[in-house]
C-alpha cells in the first residue's frame, strides 16, 4: 500500500498544471470577491472561508473522480493482478486526494493574510486551514464514488454538475443568508454548506461541532458506498 501511495503522490506532484490550477482558481476567486459582499454581512474573512472550502473540495473531488479514467483504460484491472488489495488502492487514491486538497486552502489563506486584510491569531490560522482541510474527507470519497460510477467520457459532465451544485447551492460563494427560504433549506442538507461553516467559524463563529458531526456522517456513508460499489464492480468485471 505505501509503495502504491508513494507512486501516486509522485505522479500527482509531477502534474504541475493540475496543481497550479487547483491553487490558482480559488486564489483568483478570492481576489475577485474579497470585497464584494462586505456590505451584506460577508467580510473578506467570510469569502476566504467559502473560497478555501471550494478550492479544497474541487481538488479532492477531481482527484478522486479521475479514477474513472484509470478504470476505463484497464489500469485497475491490471492492479487487481498484483498483491495490492482493492482497499489499498482506494485508500491510496483517497489519501492522494487529501494531499491535493491542502495547497488550495493554504494558498487562499496565505493570499488572504498577505493581501486580503484578514487578521487571525497564529492558532486561528492553523485551525482555519486544518479545519477546512480535514473537512474535505467526504469530498475525496465522493470523488472516488463518482470515479466508479462515471466513464471517462461522461466524467466531465458529472463532475461539473456536482461541483456547481455543491459550491453555489452550498453557499460557498454567495452567503446562504441571502438565499430564498426553500433554497436555504436545501443548502443546509449539502456537505459543502457545512464545510463552509468550518471555514467561516474562525472569523464569524458558528456551530463547528455540528459541522464536524455532519461531515463525519457524510464521510462514513460515502466511504461505505465507495467500498460496496468497488466490491460490486470487481465481482462483475
Amino acid at each position: 500500500m505505501t509503495g502504491y501511495l508513494a507512486f501516486e503522490i509522485r505522479r500527482t506532484l509531477r502534474d504541475a498544471k493540475f496543481l497550479l490550477f487547483a491553487v490558482a482558481l480559488p486564489v483568483g476567486l478570492y481576489l475577485l470577491m474579497a470585497d464584494r459582499f462586505a456590505d451584506r454581512g460577508a467580510p473578506a474573512s467570510y469569502v476566504m472561508g467559502g473560497v478555501a472550502a471550494f478550492g479544497a473540495m474541487k481538488a479532492a473531488l477531481d482527484t478522486g473522480a479521475r479514477t474513472a479514467v484509470e478504470r476505463d483504460i484497464g489500469w485497475q484491472r491490471q492492479l487487481r493482478l498484483t498483491p495490492l488489495s482493492g482497499g489499498g488502492y482506494l485508500l491510496a487514491k483517497g489519501s492522494v486526494a487529501m494531499v491535493v486538497a491542502l495547497p488550495p486552502v493554504a494558498g487562499v489563506s496565505l493570499v488572504a493574510a498577505l493581501a486580503g486584510g484578514v487578521h487571525l491569531s497564529p492558532g486561528g490560522w492553523v485551525s482555519a486551514v486544518l479545519g477546512v482541510w480535514a473537512g474535505t474527507v467526504p469530498f475525496a470519497l465522493l470523488g472516488l464514488l463518482i470515479g466508479q460510477l462515471a466513464t471517462a467520457r461522461n466524467l466531465q459532465a458529472y463532475q461539473g454538475a456536482v461541483v456547481l451544485l455543491l459550491s453555489f447551492v452550498g453557499g460557498l460563494f454567495i452567503p446562504v443568508s441571502t438565499f430564498p427560504r426553500a433554497l436555504a433549506t436545501v443548502a443546509r442538507v449539502l456537505p459543502s454548506y457545512w464545510l463552509a461553516q468550518v471555514g467561516h467559524a474562525t472569523t464569524l463563529g458558528g456551530d463547528t461541532w455540528r459541522a464536524a458531526l455532519v461531515l463525519t456522517s457524510y464521510a462514513l456513508v460515502l466511504g461505505a458506498a465507495v467500498a460496496v460499489r468497488y466490491r460490486h464492480g470487481t465481482a462483475q468485471a
Partner: protein
C-alpha cells in the same frame, strides 16, 4: 517457490460461468503440470477469456474449483507464483516503463529485481520512456515485463499477440521462449493456429464454453483429423483408391491423389502393394485448422491451409463472451 510441493501448476474442475442467459464457460476440467506450455485455442466467444479471468481471480466462477500450485487464484497472485498478462489492461501514459514495472515490483512483499524483468521482456532500453510514446508491440512487451517481474512459476497470457504485427509477434515469442526455457509453466490463449502449433507442447481446444480436444499438438491432430497420404498414381481412379483399407476420403487435385486416413503406414503399404507404379508419396498431418473446423462444426467451405496465421472466424452460433 511453489506454495505446495507436488501440486499441479494449475488444476481446474467443473468450472462454470454464465452471463445472463449465455453460458460463457460450461463445465471445464483442466490440469496443467509444472513445465508445460499450453495453448488455449478457440474462436472468439469460445470462452477462453472468461476461463482465464477466472483462473487469475478477476472473475468469480458460478461453480467449480481452481487451484494454482494448490492455492486459490488470489493467494497465488498475492504470493507472486502466478504472473498474468490480461488481454485488456493498460499502462498509465504519464509514467515511464521503468517506473511502471518498479511499481508492480514494489507491491510484492519482497520486491523482486526490476532490471531482469525488463531485460527478459526486451524493454530494458525503453525504461525511461513514457507509455504514451510506445508502439503497440512495445506496450505488450512492457505488460509482459509486468507479468514477469515477480518471477512467477506459472505465467498466464490472454491473447498476448492480438494487437501485434508479424515482426512484433515474432520478437515477443522469442522472449517467451527464453522464459519457458527455464522450466516455467505457461498457459496462453490465442486464436492463431500457427502460434499454438509452434510454441505449445499441448493444445486445449475450446468451443462454446467447453473443451473439445486436449493433448499434445500431434495427438490432437491425429485424434480428430488423422493424416493424409498424397501420391501420383498413374491409371488409378478415385473409386479404386477409395477401396484401400483405412482410407476415409479421396480427393484428386492436379493429378495427385490425396487419401485421408487414420493409419498412414497401413495406407502406404497397401497403396504400394496394389499400385506399384505410385510415386511422389508424401505423408502429412492435416493442419490444426482442419482439426479445428471438424471439431467446432464450422462449415468447411474454406480450402484447407489458407487459415494458417489468420484468425479463425467464429462459428455463427457462438456469441461474444461478455466480460
Amino acid at each position: 517457490m511453489n506454495l505446495h510441493h507436488g501440486a499441479p501448476a494449475l488444476s481446474v474442475a467443473g468450472l462454470r460461468k454464465a452471463y445472463g442467459g449465455t453460458r460463457a464457460v460450461d463445465g471445464i476440467d483442466l490440469v496443467v503440470g509444472p513445465g508445460e506450455v499450453v495453448a488455449l485455442l478457440g474462436p472468439n466467444g469460445a470462452g477462453k477469456s472468461t476461463t482465464i479471468d477466472m483462473i487469475v481471480g478477476l472473475v468469480r466462477p458460478d461453480a467449480g474449483q481452481i487451484a494454482v500450485f494448490g492455492a486459490s487464484p488470489r493467494e497465488a497472485v498475492r504470493s507472486g507464483v502466478i504472473g498474468v498478462m490480461p488481454q485488456e489492461g493498460a499502462l498509465l501514459d504519464d509514467v515511464t516503463v521503468g517506473e511502471t514495472v518498479t511499481l508492480i515490483a514494489s507491491l510484492h512483499r519482497t520486491p523482486p529485481p526490476v532490471e531482469e524483468a525488463l531485460r527478459r521482456a526486451g524493454v530494458a532500453d525503453l525504461a525511461d520512456r513514457r507509455a504514451a510514446r510506445l508502439s503497440g508491440g512495445q506496450r505488450q512487451r512492457v505488460r509482459f515485463a509486468m507479468a514477469l517481474v515477480s518471477g512467477p512459476d506459472l505465467l498466464v497470457l490472454d491473447e498476448p499477440t492480438a494487437a501485434m504485427d508479424v515482426t512484433a509477434r515474432r520478437e515477443f515469442w522469442r522472449s517467451m521462449h527464453a522464459f519457458t526455457g527455464t522450466g516455467r509453466t505457461v498457459l496462453f490463449s490465442t486464436h492463431y493456429l500457427e502460434e499454438a502449433e509452434a510454441y505449445a507442447d499441448r493444445v486445449v481446444l475450446m468451443n462454446a464454453g467447453r473443451i473439445v480436444a486436449d493433448g499434445p499438438v500431434p495427438a490432437v491432430m491425429a485424434e480428430v483429423s488423422g493424416r493424409t497420404v498424397t501420391a501420383v498414381v498413374p491409371g488409378a481412379r478415385a473409386e479404386d483408391l477409395g477401396t484401400l483399407p483405412g482410407v476415409t476420403a479421396v480427393h484428386v487435385r492436379e493429378g495427385r491423389a490425396e487419401l485421408r486416413c487414420v493409419d498412414s503406414d497401413l495406407v502406404v503399404r497397401e497403396l504400394l502393394a496394389r499400385h506399384p507404379d505410385a510415386r511422389d508419396v508424401e505423408v502429412g498431418a492435416l493442419g490444426l485448422e482442419d482439426a479445428f473446423l471438424r471439431l467446432t462444426g464450422t462449415p468447411a467451405g474454406t480450402p484447407a491451409g489458407t487459415l494458417t496465421g489468420t484468425p479463425i472466424e467464429a462459428p455463427a452460433e457462438a456469441t461474444e463472451t461478455a466480460r
